[in-house]
Amino acid sequence: MHELSVCQALIGQIEDIARQHRATAVRRVSVRLGPLSGVEPDLLSQAFSLASAGTVAQNSRLEIERLPIRVRCESCGAETAAEPNKLVCGECGDWHTRLLSGDEMVLASVELIQNGECGVRNENR
């Protein structure tokens, strides 16, 4: 539901970066998502094609890297995999854990195209 809002924020960032680097188009956008970010990768992909239309990111490819959930146990110190609704230690079962990864929603990188490299023009500039 809120993936479109997230996506509009993402497009805003991409537009800023493209402007900063005087790029005319974007070839690839790389995003990292953890299951605890609250953002659904498939819904984000759908929203991306809508939100990018008419922007510098139109026709770009959105690549989503799905990160695993990892926790560190504060009791036994073990680092284990976990589930979104079961963030307990995989070794001793204690719930006193700290999240190491799994809540990310990060724009990792953007691949830009300089003038004339492809047919896409940024009409916002």
């Binding site: 926790v71 719930w95 006193h96 990060v106 691949e111 830009l112």
Partner: protein, 286 residues
């Protein structure tokens, strides 16, 4: 300067941040939270709150779990002790703000239209309609929704999640992103427990601990004025804590922060916020 998000790239160091890829395009490493604009606005809101010594609390729950009734009961009991203000978030209607105003405290209604959550820009606009200098506790009643509001930092100091006994005691397991973010969980409508005998408060609390969340889980009924004292004591401790922090120039964020707020927490470099783009929401004042 911020070293994590790419905002410090200049013509002088640009060559370090860019590399040619196999296809001849430029790949720019960004490593910036998708909601960094929202997080920036949220940090700005938090500065407003801290400057005025306001404790800001974000109330989140499913629709109909008793957020507004809890606020009404809390205002009745505490209005001579604290100066209270309320921001109400709903898709439509002015109803909740009207209920709060009837209790004699200022309320701003944000109607989001179709948006399923409040964001920091909406709250910032609403703040222009409140006198923060005259407020000790600001309750932000988020849109009733157990999914989306959890992803948006508003600038609040604490997250409070309500879970009514009519909803099922496994809600924390079904909506982990929301309940993991709660600094306090309120099990509401406990007067109905005798008839809702399939709701086990201990099981709800167990589901919460499975999310590695140590937040207190208080049981109360705003309607029957039952169990409210523990909630009021929690509020008193939080107000006292906020006043102490204000004196020392410190601030507080909810225990679980969205990724970007953490990444930018130490820089303190962003004080201005851009205008919200495309304000589809409306807000109204008393």
């Amino acid at each position: 300067m911020c070293e994590t998000c790419g905002c410090n790239i200049t013509p002088g160091n640009e060559h370090l941040a860019r590399r040619k890829n196999a296809l001849g395009g430029d790949a720019v490493t960004v490593l910036k939270n998708l909601l960094s604009e929202n997080d920036r606005a949220a940090a700005h809101n938090r500065e407003h709150f801290d400057r005025h010594g306001v404790l800001a609390l974000n109330l989140m729950s499913a629709p109909g779990s008793g957020k507004t009734l809890l606020l009404e009961a809390s205002i009745e009991a505490l209005k001579n002790e604290f100066r209270i203000g309320v921001i109400e978030g709903d898709l439509e209607t002015e109803n909740d703000a009207a209920r709060i105003r009837a209790k004699g405290v200022p309320a701003v209604q944000i109607t989001t239209g179709t948006a399923c959550h409040l964001d920091a820009h909406m709250v910032h606009d609403a703040l222009h309609h409140l006198k923060l200098a005259d407020i000790d506790i600001l309750f932000i009643e988020n849109v009733g929704n157990l999914v989306c509001p959890a992803s948006f930092d508003l600038g609040q100091h604490r997250n409070i999640a309500l879970l009514s006994v009519t909803e099922g005691d496994d809600k924390p397991a079904k909506y982990p992103v929301m309940f993991r973010a709660a600094d306090l969980v309120l099990l509401t409508k406990t007067d109905l427990l005798p008839v809702m005998d399939d709701f086990d408060p201990a099981r709800a609390e167990h589901c919460l601990r499975q999310l590695a969340n140590p937040a207190p889980a208080l049981r109360l009924s705003a309607k029957k004025k039952d169990g409210l004292d523990a909630w009021f004591d929690w509020l008193r401790r939080e107000v006292a804590g906020q006043r102490e922090r204000a004196k020392r120039g410190q601030t507080l964020r909810p225990a679980i922060q969205p990724d970007g707020a953490r990444m930018h927490a130490e820089t303190g470099a962003h004080h201005s916020i851009p205008p919200a783009s495309g304000n589809h929401y409306r807000y109204r004042q008393v």
